[in-house]
Amino acid sequence: MSILIDKDTRLIVQGITGRDGGFHASKMKTYGTNVVGGTSPGKAGEFVEDIPVFNSVKEAVKETGANTSIIFVPAPFAKDAMMEAADAGIQLIVCITEGIPTLDVIQAYHFIKSKGANLIGPNCPGLISPKKSLVGIMPSMIFKQGSTGVISRSGTLTYEVVYNLTDNGMGQSTAIGVGGDPVVGLYYKELLEMFENDPETDSIVLIGEIGGDAEELAAEYIKNHITKPVVAFIAGQQAPPGKQMGHAGAIISSGTGTAAEKIAAFEAVGIPVAKEPSHIPLLLKELI
């Protein structure tokens, strides 16, 4: 097992004829992901590295039986792309695009939900179930198959943490970057639940950052519903209030959303919080 993606994942790449879409389609295919097609309006019949291109997601689904989509289209068109995927019956939509207006994401999110599908992102690095499937832009070589689930709001910080885990012999069942925007799809609660129910996952690493109160809610949820060991890390202790720290969602507003509050929330329910990324594997080993 693993969560959300595995050997049964049949992936299409929306925006496959773009620079990033094409580059990562090829990377994902090389990794072993079953990339069955791509879309780019007006380019049906073309191929990107042997991957057939379709005019629409509906066509791609009909021809290939795709169940998962990854989106690389530019921000102004991303809302439409997300909704197109959901309308075509795609079950898992992963949106990599950065800089999408928040109200667009809200609209797309609610539409996707009404279709019974799931969204990951936007503004995220995607996800990976090592040795099974990569649906994202993560550097696959640092990952190792194993039993730690990783949930993160960040990109390179996730790689840093995973690198430390792998280095300590702790592989991953699935690692997910949920995205750095204020509004994104699947989040801590849903993913924690999936990891709790996944027999292949025996521990969880949660990488949070400043902004919002999702970490506080996650701490509460873990206390009540998660039996597997969890270690947390929070980025942004030195962030000044009112400033956006790279991610649109990483902003301390009106004194809430601080790292100190989040760390306190985890510690209050007995979840260890690592002071630096390299301490995460050590804390995890103490719990397993």
Partner: protein
């Protein structure tokens, strides 16, 4: 992006939300002229700055006559409010207030929706109400596919008013404010306070709006209202080069790829006893031109005594990153010590390339941070 109260009130008025009559003034003479135009003996003088809490620091004053108006206008103009110098004031008719309310639309991360927030505790900061008596705040989650239909606006208005005539007035305001919020891609539209006048009208006597930076491309009329501070200008300049930059004021300049890792680098600098000068995310690739631009930005901060470069090589391999850094530093002349930490794909090859260079090379984040902190103190000695 923030705008001023007077600009927000103009938007409100365009959407049919009644606001108090007011005139924007840039000088005491302007204010006196405005006073003669306003059909009111008593007027309110308000500083126009991109900051809340104006009233607490004397940025909002009631004037009963022209002499008081002159006094307040000249005191407030030029005043410094939380780092902003007041160059504009709004002179408006004083309203006979019967009761004050709070109304806003904001983005709620947890319900992944716009929400309408209301309270009978108007006039005070909503964070304060949330802290003291959260039960006095009413929230309505808006379904983006239907917006704010009549029944929902009415249900919300009944939280504030009992009189049906007032409920209808308020409900219309809620619908108009939502339309404005959506039409302009706002991230906040706040009326605090919305007042019931002694004459029985409901009007907005303050207006606050902020907008989604990611959506400004489709709102050129809003975008031109942007008034960045010197610091924001530096941040925007960095953004135009593909960086995210925030000035912090310490001695250790940080250059990192990725926002989360950049925040962690700052945190660890502090943890090891140093002070980060900045947050700087240079994004995905690390081509020489980008590194040169980033170094220029760091070195323009005269407090910087050491530069700490922390790059996680993912798709861009560490040996490529090392080549890029060596290339870039052929063109940068600086006495400042540089600590480089490379990790990820081909890290050993990357570090090997940097051996024998002028850089201080580190393997782990802990080692790199410690080196940077030590070098800061040596530099100071």
């Amino acid at each position: 992006m923030k705008i001023h109260e007077y600009q927000a009130k103009e938007l409100f008025a365009n959407y049919g939300i009644q606001v108090d009559q007011s005139v924007l003034c840039r000088s005491v003479d302007d204010a006196v002229k405005a006073y003669s135009q306003l059909d009111s003996q008593k007027v309110i003088v308000k500083a126009q700055v991109h900051s809340g809490g104006r009233g607490k620091v004397g940025g909002v004053k009631l004037a009963n006559d022209e002499i008081e108006l002159r006094k307040h206008a000249s005191n407030i103009l030029g005043m410094n409010i939380k780092g902003y110098t007041v160059d504009r004031i709004l002179v408006g008719q004083a309203i006979n207030i019967s009761k004050e309310y709070y109304v806003s639309y904001v983005i709620d991360r947890n319900s992944k929706s716009t929400i309408l927030m209301l309270s009978k505790e108007g006039g005070m900061e909503i964070e304060e109400v949330a802290r003291i008596s959260p039960e006095k705040i009413h929230k309505f989650v808006i379904d983006p596919s239907i917006g704010v239909p009549d029944y929902l606006a009415r249900e919300a208005a009944f939280k504030l008013f009992d009189d049906l005539n007032l409920v209808r007035q308020a409900a219309t305001i809620f619908q108009k404010l939502y339309k404005l919020f959506v039409d302009t891609d706002a991230s906040l539209a706040e009326i605090n306070p919305l007042v019931l006048t002694q004459e029985g009208n409901i009007i907005a006597i303050d207006a606050k709006m902020t907008f989604d930076d990611n959506a400004l491309y489709r709102h050129p009329k809003i975008a031109v209202l942007n008034e960045p501070t010197e610091e924001e200008k530096r941040e925007q300049n960095a953004k135009s080069k593909g960086f995210s930059y925030v000035h912090l004021g310490g001695e250790i300049g940080c250059m990192v790829n990725g926002a989360g890792l950049a925040m962690t680098t700052m945190d660890m600098t502090k943890l090891y006893g140093g002070n980060p000068a900045n947050f700087l995310d240079i994004g995905g690739s690390s081509n020489p031109t980008k590194v040169i631009e980033a170094m220029k930005l760091l070195l323009s901060d005269k407090n910087v005594q050491v530069v700490l470069i922390n790059i996680f090589g993912g798709i861009t391999r560490c040996d490529d990153v090392a080549h890029g850094l060596l290339e870039a530093f052929k063109q940068i002349k600086t006495e400042i010590p540089i600590v480089i930490r490379l990790a990820g794909t081909n890290e050993k090859e990357g570090r090997a390339l940097l051996e024998g260079s002028c850089f201080h090379v580190a393997e782990t984040m802990g080692e790199a941070t410690k080196k940077a902190v030590d070098l800061t103190y040596n530099y100071q000695d």
